[in-house]
């Protein structure tokens, strides 16, 4: 029975239950200390975690787009190295790869690959983003860093067709082996698809 976050828990408990404490983000996904999280939401300046991470690891840059999680960008070539450092550095200790997925930025001709790291010791979350060209979607695998990456990457391969270099077992995970195309790409089409565009009808 561990109760490690109980000091955090005491504080809200002291507030009388009838008066609801205004919670701008009832479930902040980055479970860093709450005060810091509110700053992230309101002020345009960079979260402390992003500043720290970028200072420690030279390859990382603050995320260009909007994100509600502290986010950084990295070039595909530096991906494995910087993620390994993020995992091993005791200040960050991102021991979990909470999620990995891709976004089809078809207008830019790019796939954005998103690695959502989670640290069990500091309880903070970091989004690491990297962009690869759509016509040659190859990226080194991070299977060596986290075991779960093997299967999260297989899912991305299956649905987006992102090829992972050095992946031990790169094959489709949901669809059949002989499936043509990658369904979550924006330009994916097959015979069974309803191509009705609801927006146009309006």
């Amino acid at each position: 029975m561990t109760d490690e976050a109980s000091p955090d828990n005491k504080q809200p408990e002291s507030t009388p239950p009838p008066a609801p404490t205004p919670k701008p983000a009832p479930a902040s996904p980055a479970p860093a200390p709450q005060a810091q999280e509110e700053q992230v939401e309101k002020e345009p300046e960079l979260p402390k975690l992003v500043v720290d991470v970028c200072a420690t690891i030279g390859e990382l840059k603050p995320y260009a787009s909007e994100s509600d999680t502290p986010a950084v960008e990295v070039a595909p070539a530096d991906l494995v190295k910087s993620l390994t450092t993020l995992r091993d550095n005791p200040d960050f200790a991102f021991s979990m790869l909470m999620d990995h997925t891709a976004i089809d930025r078809i207008d830019d001709g790019q796939f954005e690959l998103v690695y959502r790291l989670y640290s069990i010791s500091t309880l903070s979350m970091l989004l690491v983003s990297t962009k690869i060209p759509r016509d040659n979607p190859v990226i080194p695998t991070v299977c060596e860093v986290w075991d779960i990456a093997e299967w999260q990457e297989r899912e991305v391969y299956d649905l987006f067709g992102v090829l992972y270099d050095n992946h031990p077992d790169l094959r489709r995970v949901f669809l059949e082996d002989d499936w043509k195309g990658f369904p979550l790409r924006k330009d994916y089409e097959d015979d069974f698809m309803l191509t009705l565009d609801v927006d146009k009808l309006r």
Partner: protein
Amino acid sequence: MAVKVSTLDERIKLTDSADSPLDTQEYFINMGPQHPATHGVLRLMLKLDGETVREVIPVLGYIHRGIEKIGEHSTYRQFVHLTDRCDYLSAMMNNWAVSLMVEKALKVELNDRIEYIRTIMAELERIQSHMLWWGVLGMDLGAFTPFLYGFRDRELITDIFEETIGCRLTMNYIQPGGVMDDIHPNFVDRVKKVIEYAKPKIDEYEELLSGNVIIQERLRNVGVLSADKATSLGVTGPVLRASGVPLDLRRVAPYGVYDKVNFEVAVGSVGDCWDRYWVRIEEIRQSMSMIEQLIDNIPAGKTMLMKPAKKTVLPEGSHYAQLETARGILGIYAVSDGVSDKPVRIHMRSPNYNNVWSADEMTRDSRIGDLVANVSSIDIVVPDIDR
């Protein structure tokens, strides 16, 4: 480029002889997609050496419905309905995750009534999910009676849901901005009655299964998952906590009214099936105590703060919210362009998809019986794996 794409046929190539002291040969055998122990249409390819499992290869996709693709063509409110169909045993918690994400992006402040109702509903659902799991675990280990006991008690909770919501399984009760409808006038009384009834039933569960020598033999030191391996494998929920990692979002990043209730996070030490069993039994008790603390204090207030008919457009950028379902952390990740009321990309970080792969790590070099115990102790719901 060293990228090599393989197929299942290439994956299940056999070696000449097995790595064993006897002159034996390995063989592959299909467990599923229709198999009593895989709880749905999960297919496991087992590489066996006699009775010993050398490798477990999950083959997924038998109920892959492309929910993420459908999500790109539906509004957030429509997407809530799809999440019911994923982990149907934590249906309302899945709804809640989407609602959380939308509310956080739109900075909607909820009143306490909504938060109380949501928390109570989620905990009730967690109890019924764990009760079902308990029964199914018993059945997987060859004891049929727990299955009916678990279902008997779970029915009472689904009856409560039915009274308020009108549905028993796929509820889509929690909506962005509140809950679908106010609770039924009988709700409070019935919940109290059911908790009163179910508390001694948990002791009965323990009497029937926990103390049994065979159960102890079947679960203790079976499928051990160390804390490091568990974190690296990205498992969450009771499976992770059983390995000794006290990661429970209800405690470390409270949402709802979890910061107002007292509860303990059940944590195991060894990471074997027995710990996973124990953690879940303890979680039922904790959930009951949470509901008891909350049920009398539901404040008054409105139950829906966003107009359902209004178009919901999230601000540009990526949004993420996560919460603790009965099986682990469910994250909803949405990317919005700031113009359309539909996401550019919506992704579910489903707990089951990330948990199911640990079956291989747990089962290597143990028996078929252990595999069944391990899969059962992971507590998978297949629609959530395939999505």
